[in-house]
């Protein structure tokens, strides 16, 4: 500490001295020479003249020092002195300082971490040129059965031809797909984006090397080419640019690698390792795929000068035209343009803003806490200040010194908070990966650090101001007189402190109530029955290359053999396969029911849909309610069988006559009705939505695709059967890449991450607030009790009971707690409005959540009270009065 102080002082002095010192020497030397010359003129010899001059001039070093004092910058020196003093006084009260720094570090750390997330999700530039000029175009069913839907090939081409608002449009397959890459070490599964003409032009991306896909690559008959993501290029080819121009096998076909994407690029469909070109012509020729399958994402770049709302209106109008022109395929389907960032940030905006606000509240509590702590300290140092004023310190100087002291604490707390934020972000990166948009790169960047530094300084000034102003107005005489008698603190500062504590209580109650509401709604969501039993299930996607399995029979044979082999593995109790796992984004098919005409404005409703093997319901634990599930009679060529969920049966056959009813699901089924053969229990596909949606299942024997997800129920550790799984897969076809397994529970957890994260963080903030407020309550009562110790001693001596004294302490502080709780009531209203959109199954003014918040706070407040009350009631009258 001493070395640091000396260094600071030396620095401050040398700033001015460096320039002035030699000049001062020269100037004084000139003066001495002139003096010497005069003495010579008066008749002395040179040596005597010089000696006399030195005597007349006087102590040279002393005057130099005095001159130095004049030119040395005073504000800087004062600041250094204050700084030195601030550090010294922080060290002298280690408990107070540690508490202050830790409190601040937590408050600032929470804010910096959340700001890091908010910035990377909502503020950072998307990895595209002029990203705010790009919109995403979605479909939406008027009846709400489809939101943010993909578009058909026909819609995409019609839009591109008719629109006038955009300079370029780019379509892409709505989700990344798995491809098998024949690496030297063996086949591996990579994620692929499949994109059409104009995609890269619209996003405004330039290659890191080679070229990106051109329109010609998406023409019919073009040579197959592929572009790699920067990460995949480094991973697969070690960043070797000689790989560009060479051929590599993807899904059994040779593709030329033509270029590499820039680092950090993420497409609107999500992370992908490779990008393929998409030719729409075959789809457009097929009447079903052209209009009735919605499978394309579409981005569009606004023309210069076209406002985004005009473009949105044009898209809506064109959507209405298309719906009119193709009533059979597009009735009820509307189009909408959404800014690309909103499309990609998705539903993270509201929770992030709520979290940011919560972190802000924590910081406010931090400030209040520190203000009252500094106030206490300022009060206990009143005598010191009075003495300083008495010996001539200016009031402004005193205030400045107190501000410097709080700045010292703020900077220390801010630095520590930054470390906490970095640690917090590292933790969040793991927790939030699936909950945040793919482009979000959680890091504590320069902006976040700057904002944090600003926070530290503002906080320092803010919480330094209150005690500084209180101390700046000391009545010197009275203070000196009273302090020696040890009387209690003034009414004014007592009220100030009470108000600060009341404010903390109000903010804490609000935060706790918000956290309570979120916890309650998460419980309401996770508590609702899923409709299936995920425990013990491992899921493995298996994809067969089209070339090796050209017929449906070949596919069927492979999948049936694999199911059979898996069933015999030890530890496996059931095996099934499905086209899709229950998730938020299930494939949906338009529904037609024999004898039912949908309202023309709405069109047919879209129903979540998957094709499953016979044992699917048993493996998943989905109960059969009526009729039967699929059996070997539901094979290819037999009449098509459909199993529906209870909810779907209730909604479309309210009279209970669903089994045996005839319906069609999906495009291309015109002319042949399928029959409902059974009703099974409802399933919540999206684990973050508490109510199940209507669901229909087809038999995978009658609807066979080249890729399926195997669902294996195990008796023990679900991942333990994977070795056997790989063995059986290899035995059937050694060219297949090993599957990427995931337990069903982890798939569900990923689906819930977006909901769990805000709950987790807000609860953490609520806990933090509670801790801080408890410390605040404790500090208030402790110093209140300490200030009146003498009085209590007198009362005890005069025969007052301990209970009466405890009551005195309690009454003085309880008023502020009540005020705080009332303020909290107002805060709760604000918080409830803020989180309203995040709630499920809980009213915004849920009495349980609010009651729990108040009770928790009161409990902690009471615990915080115990020590001061104990101290007050155990005052030794003799010791105090002596």
């Amino acid at each position: 500490m001493g070395a640091l102080r000396d260094a600071a002082a030396r620095l401050a002095g040398s700033l001015g001295r460096r320039a002035e010192e030699p000049e001062l020497d020269e100037e004084m030397g000139f003066h001495l020479e002139m003096l010497t010359e005069r003495n010579v003129r008066l008749g002395m010899d040179r040596a005597a003249a010089r000696r006399a001059a030195l005597v007349t001039f006087g102590g040279r070093e002393r005057f130099k020092e005095e001159a130095r004092d004049e030119y040395r910058s005073r504000p800087l020196e004062d600041f250094v002195q204050d700084l030195r003093y601030g550090i010294r006084s922080a060290v002298r009260a280690p408990l107070f300082s540690l508490l202050a720094i830790a409190t601040l570090a937590l408050g600032i750390g929470a804010n910096a971490a959340i700001f890091g997330v908010v910035k990377s999700v909502l503020l950072d530039a998307l990895p595209y040129a002029d990203a705010d000029r790009i919109v995403r175009i979605y479909g939406r069913m008027a009846d709400g059965s489809l939101e943010r839907s993909s578009l058909s090939a026909g819609t995409v081409t019609d839009l591109a031809e008719r629109q006038r608002s955009f300079e370029s449009l780019g379509h892409f397959y709505h989700t990344p797909v798995d491809v098998t890459y024949a690496a030297d070490a063996g086949p591996r599964v990579l994620k692929a984006a499949v994109v059409g003409k104009g995609y890269f032009r619209t996003l405004g991306v330039s290659p890191a090397s080679g070229r990106l896909l051109a329109d010609a690559d998406a023409e019919p008959g073009a040579a197959p080419v592929v572009v790699l993501s920067h990460a995949a290029w480094l991973r697969e080819f070690g960043g070797d640019s000689r790989a560009i121009g060479r051929l590599f096998r993807f899904d059994g076909e040779a593709h030329e690698l033509v270029g590499v994407l820039p680092p950090g690029f993420v497409g609107p469909m999500g992370d992908a390792d490779v990008v393929f070109a998409l030719d729409l012509t075959p789809a457009l020729r097929d009447p079903v795929r052209a209009r009735k399958q919605h499978w394309l994402g579409l981005v569009a770049r606004l023309k210069a000068g076209v406002p985004s709302d005009a473009a949105e209106r044009e898209v809506i109008a064109l959507g209405a035209d298309l719906a009119r022109e193709h009533p059979d395929a597009q009735a009820g389907l509307t189009l909408a343009a959404v800014p690309l960032r909103d499309a990609m940030a998705g539903e993270t905006r509201t929770p992030l803003l709520v979290l940011m606000a919560s972190a802000g509240l924590v910081l406010l509590i931090t400030c209040a806490n520190l203000a009252s702590a500094l106030l206490s300290r300022a009060l206990s140092r009143r005598k010191e200040f009075a003495v300083r004023v008495a010996i001539g310190a200016g009031r402004g100087r005193l205030v400045r010194q107190l501000l410097t002291e709080s700045l010292v604490l703020a900077v220390a707390g801010g630095a520590l908070g930054l470390l906490l934020a970095a640690a917090g972000l590292a933790a969040l990166r793991g927790l939030a990966a699936t909950a945040l948009p793919p482009y979000a790169d959680l890091s504590l960047d320069r902006g976040a650090v700057l904002v944090t530094a600003a926070l530290a300084v503002v906080t320092g000034v803010l919480f330094g101001l209150v005690p500084a102003l209180a101390a700046g107005r000391p009545d010197v005489q009275r203070t000196l007189r009273e302090e020696s008698r040890g009387s209690s603190e003034s009414r004014r500062s007592r009220h100030l402190r009470g108000a600060l504590v009341a404010g903390q209580i109000a903010l804490s109650v609000s935060l706790l109530a918000g956290a309570g509401l979120l916890i309650r709604s998460l419980l309401a969501i996770t508590g609702a029955p899923l409709g299936f039993a995920p425990g013990g299930i491992v899921t493995v996607p298996v994809k067969l290359p089209g070339g090796a399995y050209p017929t449906t029979e070949a596919l069927m044979r492979f999948f049936e053999q694999l199911e059979e082999r898996l069933r015999s593995l030890p530890g496996v109790t059931a095996v099934a396969s499905t086209s899709e796992l229950p998730t938020a984004n299930m494939n949906r098919n338009g529904l037609a029911i024999e004898g039912v005409t949908w309202p023309a404005a709405d069109g047919s409703p879209f129903i979540a849909y998957s094709s499953v093997s016979s044992d699917y319901f048993r493996t998943m634990g989905i109960p059969l309610r009526r009729g039967r599930t699929f059996d070997p009679t539901d094979r290819a060529g037999a009449p098509k069988a459909i199993v529906i969920s209870e909810g779907m049966a209730r909604r479309y056959w309210p009279k209970g006559d669903a089994v045996g009813a005839r319906l069609r699901l999906g495009p291309g089924t015109e002319g042949s009705w399928a029959q409902v053969i059974g009703i099974v229990g409802d399933v919540r596909n999206d684990p973050s939505v508490p109510v199940p949606e209507p669901m229909a299942y087809a038999s995978s024997a009658q609807e066979t695709f080249g890729s399926r997800i195997f669902v294996v129920r195990t008796a023990g550790d679900p991942m333990a059967v994977m070795r056997g799984f790989e063995r059986e897969l290899k035995a059937l076809d050694p060219r297949l890449p090993p599957g990427v397994p995931a337990t069903l529970s982890s798939v569900l957890a990923d689906g819930l991450a977006g909901r769990r994260l805000p709950v987790l963080l807000m609860t953490a903030f609520g806990g933090l607030a509670l801790l801080l407020a408890s410390v605040g309550v404790y500090a208030m009562f402790a110093s209140m009790a300490a200030a009146r110790e003498r009085e209590f001693g007198v009362r005890m001596a005069l025969g007052s009971s301990r209970r009466a004294i405890a009551w005195l302490v309690l009454r003085q502080g309880a008023a502020w707690m009540v005020i705080g709780l009332l303020g909290g009531a107002a805060g709760v209203i604000v918080v409830a409005r803020l989180v309203r959109n995040l709630l499920y199954g809980v009213p915004p003014f849920d009495p349980v959540a609010l009651g729990a918040a108040v009770a928790t706070l009161l409990l902690c407040g009471l615990v915080a009270l115990l020590v001061p009350i104990h101290r007050a009631t155990h005052v030794d009258p003799v010791a105090v009065l002596r």
């Binding site: 100037e27 000139f30 003066h31 102590g59 040279r60 005057f63 130099k64 001159a67 004049e70």
Partner: protein
């Protein structure tokens, strides 16, 4: 240090005298002491060394500025010059000095009167 013949400077008057000495033209430190001694007919002896802290003080207050020049004898020396603020300050000090000295004179003569009466 209190010999009466050679006048010690009254506390706080050095600054005022320095400003006065610079009223006509810029001057170096040595020149300032000489000028004050000349003008006071060798009665006021400026404590040579203490001139410099005073100069730096005046500079910090913004009443004088300094710059290096060559003297008539071709020597390098730092010259000090009055600023506008310095001239205002000089005028103010002149005024308050006049008031003070005439008041002191009044008192001193008044004290002598009863004796002569």
């Amino acid at each position: 240090m209190t010999d009466i013949g050679k006048g010690e400077l009254l506390q706080g008057t050095l600054d005022m005298l320095v400003l006065k000495a610079l009223q006509l033209e810029p001057m170096h430190g040595w020149g300032i002491t000489e000028r004050i001694e000349q003008w006071s007919r060798q009665v006021l002896q400026v404590n040579q060394g203490s001139l410099y802290p005073a100069l730096y003080r005046l500079k910090r207050k913004g009443w004088i500025t300094s710059s290096w020049k060559t003297t008539a004898n071709n020597r390098r020396a730092r010259y000090y010059a009055l600023t506008a603020a310095g001239r205002r300050q000089l005028a103010a000090e002149q005024q308050s000095w006049d008031r003070l000295s005439s008041a002191v004179n009044l008192v001193m003569r008044m004290a002598a009167a009863p004796e002569s009466a």
